[in-house]
Symmetry: C2
Subunit: 231 residues, 2 copies
Amino acid sequence: MNNRPLSQLAQQLGYTFNDASLFEEALTHRSAGSNNNERLEFLGDSILNFIIAHELFKMYPDVDEGDLSRLRASLVNGDSLAEISAGLQLGDFITLGAGEKRSGGHRRKSIQADCVESIIGAVYCDSDFETCRRLVLKLYQDKLNNIPDISTLKDPKTRLQELLQSRQRALPVYEVVAITGQAHSQTFEVSCTIEQLGIVATGKGGSRRKAEQVAAQVAFTKVEQQFQPVK
Amino acid sequence: MNNRPLSQLAQQLGYTFNDASLFEEALTHRSAGSNNNERLEFLGDSILNFIIAHELFKMYPDVDEGDLSRLRASLVNGDSLAEISAGLQLGDFITLGAGEKRSGGHRRKSIQADCVESIIGAVYCDSDFETCRRLVLKLYQDKLNNIPDISTLKDPKTRLQELLQSRQRALPVYEVVAITGQAHSQTFEVSCTIEQLGIVATGKGGSRRKAEQVAAQVAFTKVEQQFQPVK
């Protein structure tokens, strides 16, 4: 093992463990044995989801629960956890089994992302809710300061529908216009028609659903252009 | 409205709200207007999942995260929340829109279950984490004292596989032996064969997966009988 000493990570986290074995457990991948971080990850995931839910609840007093859910999903997911993990250079501190180590497991995003959650769980076990909450808010500080626009979190079909409804227009009609390719690698072509506005858009995808979303995105842009006042 | 006064519910919960409007919001279904309980339900759901996760984490120090997940899912779900709601007679306190009221919405299980979560969210907003945790543990006291056996939470295929592995036996082989019925209401018949033990079991179901589970359950019983010492 060429792991860096955990004290360096503790310094970055701004938290020193009373029980150092919890910290070690949080950084032990299941490939390294039975005393690994999976239980702490289960716990940490539930804490993280709660803390972020509460932050969003306070930050967006007028947003409905569907949007709160989407906002949370945009903050608590494998990619964002991997980014936080990269910021902490967690890969340098993770204990892996021999096989995982050989295959570069410490660089694997999912392993690093899981460790962020297990550390959160370990800090909670080692301290109290308020201390853990402060750590989560510190880890998420940048992300909470740069939350994406709610409207962009919705899928194109939903966005198109809401845009049309806000202008009291009839909803779009989707139709499959072509299916090509072999049974297991078919391509769907779907049209999205908004008759009232004279708009027809098409989209292609590996499934009907995906093709509809592509078509809806194209239609959305066309509708926006129509609605925009000419300057 | 013939709702009972909220003070009666407060007494049952053992919690008196500082901000009574939060309590009212928690008991207002979306059919009754925009100031409804959906945001509090979103928050309460995340608190509840965390608190139960932590209880199970402490109660089962040797159980892996897969079993912890299954245990939690057996405690936090629509049915168990509806049971808790029935114990509190929540239906008598929920504010519904006119349409929902006419169609008996206060007796609807899902509406009642959601209210348990929104009350948890409201108590958290009105007090602090520790107060909310105590309330959740009170609501879940019976359920936490009567947690189902972990092995029964697994699906039959998983249980059969684990039973055979524990005895170092080869795994079962599943095969579709018949598909009958029209395209949209097919019945699958699947066999589950454990050659080493001379066991063949069959099961039927509306999907291949369901038929496999039925066959696995039958096979499981047969394997258990073989493994049982003759008394």
